[in-house]
Symmetry: C2
Subunit: 549 residues, 2 copies
């Protein structure tokens, strides 16, 4: 028999037990009661300027901490987190959404209460589409079990889940008998054995295997298993873009990011000429595949994810990712001689331009590569800042965060808050385009209140520049902001205006010294400049078109 | 046989025919082809900093113009407009959403294309929950008819509709045979006759009837019919909060806003003592009913909306709002002697405080009441700015815009763009809280690009003050911005910092003279100050609790 707790308290306790120490969000009248409960719990509430920013922050928090949470009011709050939650779903980030709702008593006779859209269930029905499980905690008889069931789904699938609490239910309670854990559907041991045997045989028979590590290695906490596998076999490893930094990019067996034509040629050649590509927790998205310029032979691949295990062209059903990796590590695998690897490209070693030369995307990331330290987490927004950041070498692991599949603009600045709250030892370096900063960058307001000290580098090229390279038009133009003046508006922070190499070096030094508050560096770039990765993609696509003509 | 147009062109032509002259939104790769078509059409694209701002702007545009449109990319764009579209649904504002989507060819073999969430249909399924009709235009055989069908639903219900265009379909075409209009379900003439007869008899038999006009009078374009009805009968009229300004507030038969305990006592008494309340197009929401402090007797009411027609406690089904009003105007109704009406409260006539007195919410709205001209549209955000704005007298009609039912914060500034684009003769005066401004206020960036000149009055009381009066806690605190410095960030506009009455008068004069660009007035208020309407509500609720004790 558990101690009698209200439904709201029970939910908070379960979240705390799983590692939630901060809940992001904005209050509203339907959720004020639950906010009161947060105030009395050991979990801290973090207010943001906008709900979507709270969603992005919770997502980044989950990526660093293993679980994150966001708490909003009914509809006007809930609908504002649909985009970040859809992104967390797409990229498997375990975020708990908690929403207030009108009280059950108030709903009698179906009145038009404020914030209501169609039916009282409309919001819940929407979240069913973008979460892996959810429950309206509207009955004290079942609510405790529903909390258990839904959080079990989060643990199992590492994807967002949804709770809705009618405002007269947060404080309701009933003695809670803990239900036995749902029996976990385990793979048939024979199936697992067969899959492992075939996998091991294929790896052992191969001449030049390579591992392609993806983001699920992080989501399921298998970074150490990956290292063990490499140590045990001496198989080299590349990472997908979304998986960047699941392994330290300074690891001696690491060869770089694989992303088809967008990647470095040496990495692409190494992976594509392998006779056994072991994809671990990698999503085969268009972005990870360099807009489908990747050229992997399924007949020579082993594809292991939480959703699917495939050897060559056949699949083994219902084997869990974690179980497969554990079994693989226990199997006899040949240890090879350490192969000759392509040299890791070191952009930091490229020559510096003269101090008075105007900034380019390439020079910016060369400089940032030398600037980042082991105590930093690099958070990238979407666009050429992401393509440019690919070439930065992340020294430790899981210190590169970006929405590289769902690619929602505006992720960067709010995500930096989440990452730094999840691990206060990490200082965020955010790279973000001017268009994306205009969406959510003023969330720095919250960094000020929390005394966080992210360094924000704005790639200011006067518009949606990645799109300019696809189809240009006046719709890619945006307003011109003096981003370095943000500190004046927020009464805090330091701003820098950068035109040249010398400006940048000075600004980065000053930002590093500015420990107390945020720094924002407004880097003026040519409207049509692009990163080497974007240039590589354009070239290869052009060559392909030519070859076809 | 219509001229051969592509699906995208046909949609744009149909929108243009219905009055769409501007489409708000942000491009993305899945919708770039359609953006190209907009560029070649007579409709102008208006880029915003964020998609939700585009949604709010399109909503306000629809409120002024009769129809509005927003165009976004798949998922990362679409999910960001769910909140404004849910609001437009709740408050019946006819907004067309157009979203790009992955091409049909790309979807073969179900790949993980960027922005995808669960299935390719996920976004469409979400919008089904918050629109009145929708279609994926994925088949040239049916697409043209689908456009017709969906836009017919918009015309009929004045609520948002949804179109999704796979990117390889925008340019697809097929000769289009125009389908005959779906036969409109008309009411049985006998039912309409009976309803009108009963209504007319009840009105004619009443001693002191009163009309309560709601926002549907505007949505269905029945403002002139309302005036005719008043002229014909000499029945006085009040408005709901959401319906504020469906009739000029200077009209001699207008008595004010009815909203239960939140309203002026004279109006509440007049309406509640009437023996025949004719509710025309009024939503009976909790906000319109003064958080259910309203006291209307259903047995003495006639309730006419687009959804329902009720006389006392029985309803007549499927009679259209417009048909009912037209029939009522043709019926014999008694013309009364002009009744003695409660005097319209004139806050502008209240005494001015001394020039050096610190600003209060009450004094602010007294001053604004005298400030607004016939060429202004007042746009209110949510919170005490709305409660305060209730007392302002709007001189013309439909020149007060606010989301008074759905109450989504952050509506104000983007809505001002939409309103001014829909009618360039109107200069927006926006009243907005500091919390709401932090959500979407930087959309002023777009006002700069479009050379619009709204005047923004920020009620700066350091947090979510309406909530402070319900349940206070640190979660109601927000970052402190120097709102008057926004012009520095945006390289345009004029900012004013207001502490006293004299400051305000000076700032308003200067803002009025600043015709070229936006003005922002940062009005510092006490953290716990409140408007007279909010004070009235608190008092009455307190009295009620006391009475019950």
């Amino acid at each position: 028999m558990a101690k009698q707790q209200s439904i709201g308290q029970y939910l908070l306790n379960q979240l705390h037990k799983r590692g939630v120490r901060h809940i992001f969000g904005i209050p509203g009248d339907y959720v004020l009661g639950f906010y009161g409960l947060i105030g009395k719990s050991p979990i801290k509430h973090i207010g943001t300027t906008r709900e979507d920013a709270a969603g992005f922050a919770a997502d980044a928090y989950a990526r660093v901490n293993g679980i994150g949470a966001v708490c909003v009011t009914y509809c006007v709050g809930g609908f504002n987190v649909t985009n970040p939650i859809a992104g967390a779903y797409a990229e498997k980030s375990p975020v708990v959404i908690i929403s207030g709702a009108p009280g059950l008593k108030e709903r009698e006779r179906n009145p038009l209460l404020h914030h209501r859209v169609k039916d009282f269930s409309t919001q819940k029905e929407v979240f069913e589409k973008i979460t892996v499980a959810g429950a309206a905690l509207d009955d004290p008889l079942t609510a405790y079990h529903e909390v258990d069931r839904v959080l079990y789904a989060l643990d199992r699938y590492r994807r967002p889940v949804y709770f809705e609490i009618p405002r007269d239910m947060a404080d309701a309670s009933r003695r809670h008998t803990r239900r036995r854990e749902s029996s976990i559907p385990l793979a048939d041991p024979e199936t697992l054995r067969e899959a492992i045997a075939e996998t091991a045989a294929m790896i052992n028979a191969s001449k030049r295997p390579v591992i392609l590590a993806g983001v699920e290695v992080h989501r399921f906490g298998l970074q150490d298993s990956l290292l063990k596998l490499i140590r045990k076999t001496h198989i080299p490893v590349a990472a997908t873009l979304l998986g960047k930094s699941v392994i330290s990019e300074a690891h001696p067996m690491y060869i770089g990011i694989y992303e088809g034509a967008m990647g470095r040629k040496s990495v692409t050649d190494y992976v594509e000429s392998s006779d056994c590509v072991i994809l671990l927790g990698a999503f085969m998205t268009d972005i990870n595949l360099g807009i489908y310029t990747a050229n992997l032979d399924q007949g020579q691949s082993i594809y292991v994810t939480s959703e699917k295990i495939m050897v060559r062209r056949h699949s083994y059903d219902d084997i869990r990712f974690r179980d497969f990796i554990a079994a693989l590590l226990k199997t006899k695998l040949k240890q090879r001689k350490k192969p000759k690897l392509p040299e890791m490209h070191n952009i930091g070693a490229e020559p510096k331009p003269p101090p008075d030369s105007r900034m380019t995307v390439k020079d910016l990331f060369r400089e940032l590569d030398g600037f980042i330290t082991k105590d930093m987490v690099v958070v990238s927004d979407i666009g050429d800042c992401l393509f440019g950041a690919v070439d930065m070498r992340i020294r430790k692991r899981t210190e590169f965060i970006s929405p590289a599949y769902y690619t929602s603009m505006g992720f960067g600045v709010p995500a930096a808050l989440g990452a730094q709250l999840a691990n206060p030892k990490l200082r965020p370096l955010v790279v973000v385009g001017d268009g994306a900063f205009q969406m959510t960058g003023l969330e720095l307001s919250t960094a000020v209140r929390l005394k966080l000290n992210p360094i924000i580098v704005v790639l200011n090229n006067e518009g949606y520049s990645t799109e300019r390279h696809i189809a240009d038009g006046p719709f890619n133009d945006i307003g011109l902001w003096a981003f370095n003046k943000v500190p004046d508006l927020l009464n805090a922070g330091k701003g820098f205006d950068v035109e040249t190499q010398a400006d940048l070096e000075w600004a980065l030094r000053a930002a590093l010294d500015n420990q107390e508050t945020f720094s924002i560096i407004n880097v003026h770039l040519d409207k049509y400049d692009k990163s080497p990765a974007l240039a590589r993609l354009s070239e290869r696509l052009a060559a392909r078109v030519k070859g076809a003509g």
